[in-house]
Symmetry: C2
Subunit: 263 residues, 2 copies
Amino acid sequence: MGTVAKALSLLDLFTLARPEIGLSDLARLSGMNKATVYRMVSELQAEGLLEQTGTRAYRIGPAVLRLAALREATVPLRAAAMPLLQRLSDRTGETVHLSFLEGGKLGTYAFTYADAHGTSVRMEDAAVLPFHATASGLAVLAYLPPDRREALLTPPLAGFTAATQTDAARIRAALSQVRASGIAVSTGGFEADVSSLAVPLFAADGSVTGALAVATPVSRMTDALRARIAQALTDTAPALGALWGASPLLQDTPPPPVPEPTD
Amino acid sequence: MGTVAKALSLLDLFTLARPEIGLSDLARLSGMNKATVYRMVSELQAEGLLEQTGTRAYRIGPAVLRLAALREATVPLRAAAMPLLQRLSDRTGETVHLSFLEGGKLGTYAFTYADAHGTSVRMEDAAVLPFHATASGLAVLAYLPPDRREALLTPPLAGFTAATQTDAARIRAALSQVRASGIAVSTGGFEADVSSLAVPLFAADGSVTGALAVATPVSRMTDALRARIAQALTDTAPALGALWGASPLLQDTPPPPVPEPTD
DNA sequence: ACCAAAGGTTCAAATAATGAACCAATCAAA
DNA sequence: TTTGATTGGTTCATTATTTGAACCTTTGGT
């Protein structure tokens, strides 16, 4: 792991729940030396990726807004995807959630709510999803090349709820199911009261790039709803893939053109 | 300059005009070795700050969207500032433009248009402003500590138009004017047909953090309009500063509490 | 079939990152 | 106010990483 990667990994310590972090905490959380962290945050600050608050704690800086504007101007994907997500929300009556592989992480990209129900699953933007504990993560994991998959399945796997599956062997078995059906399911693995279905999304070259998911409160999930959501997901995924030039040939072939890995 | 800063400086090579850059071009533009650049972009890519297109060129990656969402959740400044900017636009009938110091750079943060005129100055989000050639830049420069100011004024200064002032001595003289009046003026220094007025913005600790500017087509700028804009700017700046806790005491003291530096 | 330029890779040499220890400032409790 | 613990920040010899010339392979144009 190079110095640059280590410095950038500091950015991932900031979350909605922990938006400001002091120097000592940053050193503790990252496991790096305080002097090292200090030099890194100084460089990140000079670039505007971090900034220091009045209490000397660090937080994400204003430069990311400029970069984000540049990103959306370059790849106006979110704008194009939102109507598709909204239609899927309306059709299923549930929260829809689009995530993409960002380097080695699965990041939330966009989501939409239905206004059908009084209760719905609340999503956070700015979230990174665990691969082994979410439907989206499993959908991606199932179609990742074996080496990358195994790297992400090496113990210890974090437990988020009592229902989180942390046994790598069982997860591998679940991934075979995902490949067989083309759909990933997860119930309460990340958030206790949430049940999700997800389908993988593929890049133009056939590699997996993200996932499209529908999340419902566990109390509402039934076999009938599951079937309706699965149908809606497989209907929507090709149109979404078309936005970045993925082949619509995948449309009627649930197990996509990634060979069943020999694991 | 540390390795991290060098790697991050690559991000600044991407602009709206040049949103995708190949490896060799990145090496040329940055003046770094190709192998060095390659390792850096690989690390930036692993973090999702860059991504590679089908043609192997690099562009800003999706992770910046996640970070931007986190930033706005942490510091919902843009949302709070926009109505103030819009009022200023409506009042002056011109384009308003808010920029902040991001580390060593002056980055565009937000802008609003008036719908009064058929013509107006178009701004780009995702833009970095030169200090010596814009009203915003001069406003900031005037109140920066002498060492930081001098660092930014060391020749060679880039020329953007025939009217760009690139003589550091003359710019220093102009900065005295800015400190005397509390307002910076620039005509055609960055974009040929644009004339701007700007006031500095100060952080809670009294240090300069950015600028608020009004930009008009040169053809429309008159002394009368200049006076009206200057008034509108000095009226708005305190309310804007209040958003981040800057002292409203500055309201009626055009030369803010930064001592006239001995230069 | 050719050439030029691109992306990507290698390895010894050079340089930058590292971490233990240190200082000064802040804060809470005694 | 004294104490003690913790914070942000700094130093410097040791160490490990980055660097860059040269190399290979692929791509695209003529």
